[in-house]
Amino acid sequence: MASGFILTTTIFLPLVFTVVIFFLPKENIKGIKLVALSGSIVTFLVSLFLFFGYDAAIGGFQFLHKVTWIGSLNISYFVGIDGMSLLLILLTTFLTPLALLGTWNSIEKQLKGYSIMVLLLEVGMIGVFASLDLFLFYIFWEAMLIPMYFIIGVWGGPNRVYAAVKFFLFTLFGSVLMLVAIIWLGYFASTVPGGQFTTNLFDLYRIAPLLPVNLQMWMFAAFGLSFAIKVPVWPLHTWLPDAHVEAPTAGSVILAGVLLKMGTYGFIRFNLPLFADASLRAMPFMCLLAVIGIVYGALVAMVQTDMKKLVAYSSVSHMGFVMLGIFSMTEEGLQGAIIQMINHGLSTGALFLLVGMIYDRTHTRSIADYGGVAKLMPVYATFLMIISFSSIGLPGLNGFVGEFLVMLGSFKSTLLDNRWFAVVAGLGVIFSAVYMLWMYQRVMMGPVRSDGLYGGHHLTDLTKREIAVLVPIVLFVVWIGVYPKTFLSKSAPLVKHTVEQMESVKRGSPIRFAGSLQCNLESK
């Protein structure tokens, strides 16, 4: 139980710092910034304990912490992590300080509220990845909308109100139906022999094979809709470009870096193991949507004139890969999906930071306003080059590992049994090279503008602070590209177990998805 406290501490540590900020005077801008940054860094350091403490050899859920919360409804505060949530929590705690530092001078109004919102958002995100009770999960999932809504709406661009409201209502639409499904699922648990109403994920895993297939389909749809909006899966992606373009840089980084992953996380954590039959039936359909998303996102990104919008649409394409990996239901595909979530978080997060950095200097994001920037900002050009390659999937960098595994998985998947998905997804990789390199060429190459002004401003190369933000990301980009095993090994037990379960369901003799969990419950 003691180890569970580390997890709980990680979740609520940013909350402690928001309270500190709350009591700081509004004028003490430096103090607020420092408290927010140190808060997020301390949270990252604490989360490292999770990384080194998690024993992938045992697998399953570790760092469990359970406290009865609402006894009469059998709801408890129940958290714990497995390999996948571990990686995503680390991504969250890693990106938050970088997002704060990367936009150190960009926020000009109401800095206090801004810092509080970013830290609250972090609480919500970590909580989502750690919750093992569906009620708790839902609380974090929804509560997180509020800070993001304010971040877009108060500190965003000119069209921020529209973007914020659209973001909020879109995501809420998905989640309210999930709420009905959660309650229904809990109620179903009370109708099985000896059962009682529960939202405890372990108990639900246990009763999941008893769910009739038609009920599964409804629940898959309700959960799936909520997650698909978050991912976003084509054609539910329309909120994303608006939200990304209007959000301030830190908001975009967190939105792309972490929030989108909550959707794909949800598919792996809930949809596959709880509704296995329905997942198998929906598999070709989901793969189709994923592949459409890959190609559609890439094609739309190609014609964008706004850098931020280009990156936003590239997210639709990249998250399509993650979806394809998940619904290939092979070990390679799922591993690829999980590592691709991390990759996308790193490279798209970095891309948004890079766009934000140049935007802070010129106040324009239009590609046409640039040209020849590489000559004036060589360091910036180098970073943008590395990150672009990472996003394209150049071998040796992280993107390659994820995309390769996903395509391999969907190509050889016997459950899916259709190689065309992988082939079309391969097209997406080519397209991504087109739009990224083309953007790079138009912005970085060519002659310097005749007056040397961009958006009416002179360009200066990256400051030490900005380099300090980008270096850690590049480090991980290379690390994952060269030696992904550090990270893949953490999620391997979960992936192996999920695939075994799927195959057993297909064979008609389902094993329940709790096997590897139970031993840990007892051992911890």
Binding site: E142, V154, F168, L169, V176, V180
Partner: protein, 474 residues
Amino acid sequence: MNSYLNDLVANAPVMIVTMTVLVAMLVEAVRKTRPVAIYYVSMIGLAFAAVFAITNLTVEGTSFGGMLLHGGYANFFGALFCFVSFFTIILSRNYFERQKYHRGEFYILLLFATIGMMLIASANDLIIVFLGIELMSVCLYVLAGFMRTKERANEAALKYFLLGAFATGFLLYGIALIYGAVGTTNLTMIRNVFAVVSTNILFVIGAGFLLIGLAFKAAAVPFHMWAPDVYEGAPTPVTAFMSTGAKAAAFAAFITLFIRTFDFIGGQVNELLAVLAAASMILGNIVAIAQSNVKRMLAYSSIAHAGYMLVGIATGTLDGQVGVMFYLAAYAVMNLGAFAIISLVEHEGDQNLLLDDYAGLSYSQPLLAVLMAIFMFALAGVPPFAGFFGKYYIFLAAIKAKMVWLAIIGVLTSLVSAYYYLRLVVFMFFREGRANIETPPSRIVLTMVVVSALLVLLLGLFPSIIIQTAQRYF
């Protein structure tokens, strides 16, 4: 004589408020020019009654020859009504002093209405239900038109009175029919013979009439017509009181009659309730979108909330009852808080009530804006605030009662409601504007609003506080 005294003591919360109102009337007679004295007397009386009610939540029984319930269920609502009344009184002094309309009789009427509400919750006889509702309603008619020099207030009061009298007719006729069918108005006896009489057509029609009368008091569709005009025309503290206290009283009667006494589960009466619930949720939420006046918007939102609570009533189960009781408490704190802020922002003569008048409030009054945002998110049902758990429990009850369609309508309409609640947040935080208030809020009102915001959070995070109490009374 001795047992009579015991009965009085057992019903102490009601009796304390009654004594308070008598004292208040004497004070009013002696010190006509200083309504502040009555203000203090009322607050002290209500506080005592609330404390007594809360400390006696576990004892239960009947008194006055089986006419009244005491303890338990009655005290749960007694405490709630005292809280609502207490809050309203604090709000009213601030409001009426600014409007230069401070009168002592206001508090007396408010206390009488509170007694009526408490009687409804303590009723174990249809006659008491009727007495309570009338006592409450008559006072509310007057309160709605309390600022009698204003046209809108007059319109509100007259409209409320005429339609209210109509609803009273239904209520009384329903009671008469039930008496005709069963031969008694005592609820315990009706419950005992329910299985026999439930097929009696007179009885069912009587129950239907009761339903109409109560639906009117609760402002549920299609008996909601009066609500927007009355809520808009009445003084803001009175609107706060009506939308929380009077609604809670109507639902206390709903629970007493349609869950604790009648057992129509799965029958046509409950289906009718379900339809009313669905209609209220849909109409209330959709029409609220079109409003530009904040008070009117919250009037339609209160129709929608009546719909959510009717879902709980329609299930007819313990879960439904507990859900409604929790929802009422949660709704009381969040709606009172919201109306308190409206009354603070409001300028003299019904001015500054439009959404536009809230533009940029977060810049001039950050604390008020943050508190208002909390209430709006809570009303929209976003966790971790109390409104979310209320909806969770009610939808849980609906799904358990195999009314999944009602739960789906419920969540979809609450999505619609998020739009208009958020719109106020948009105005306050995302728009620049010159929103400001006439006089800085008095410290006691601000404290009360902060307390209710904390309660909204507390009930959202630890709903067991209320759930465990409410589960005992079935």
